[in-house]
Symmetry: C2
DNA sequence: AACTGTTGTATAGTTTACCTATGAGAAGCA
DNA sequence: TGCTTCTCATAGGTAAACTATACAACAGTT
């Protein structure tokens, strides 16, 4: 159906990394809520996208995880940025800016 | 390998539509050149991406095609925007702006 | 005439990456 | 007790872009 709220392909890692960089360690559910909230419901991370992405990020060593109790007393897996993750974030933000500037140059003036 | 120059997934239709809207009817090769040139080599449309995309756009009635001789006297297929294509362009640019604003809000400060 | 480079189109097959759908467990509340 | 919320997870599907390849026609060079 390809309906409404959607993460632009290729930006999900960046959004997750940035959330962790800003707030500190968070669990998956919290990351999803955070992104949705800050974006004012424009960006909505589906669970079926988020958790597989986090698994891949664990494998890539961009994050490490630790089981804890959440603020609501549920068991939750907290993800924390590694130095490699921070580096990746920098790289992705830079590339994103570069490409977006080029796209804007194309679609902006008449 | 996911190397260097790349169109962000989801933006290809918009870039093609915008090129046609700006310049008028063009052939595929010309569209690719145009995008690469205006973006100063940041965006590079591969043929294996471009032509399938144009086929899909024909099916969606966003463009119509006509065989002609090119400026260099070769046979080439010229694509022209339809009203539906123009409408789609407007829709995509709007959505793009909305989503990008949300992403920037997330990754920009701090 | 043959070769080479450029222009131009096309498709088959693969991969990326996100989505849909589904399930499940534990806590809190009515 | 049953409902809702929180939290994680995965299997399967799909859209769309990439890689690799092929073909054809003209231009310019030798």
């Amino acid at each position: 159906m390809r309906s409404r709220p959607e993460i632009p392909p290729g930006t999900l890692y960046m959004l997750i990394l940035k959330s962790l960089a800003r707030i500190g360690p968070m669990h998956g559910y919290g990351i999803a809520q955070y992104i949705q909230q800050i974006s004012e419901d424009v960006l909505q991370v589906e669970e079926g996208s988020l958790y597989p992405a986090l698994q891949r990020m664990l494998i890539k060593d961009w994050v490490v995880a630790e089981w804890k109790q959440s603020e609501n007393n549920r068991r939750a897996r907290y993800y924390r940025l590694t130095p490699a993750g921070r580096k990746q974030l920098t790289r992705e933000v830079g590339e994103f800016g570069r490409v977006m500037a080029a796209i804007v140059r194309l679609i902006e003036p008449v």
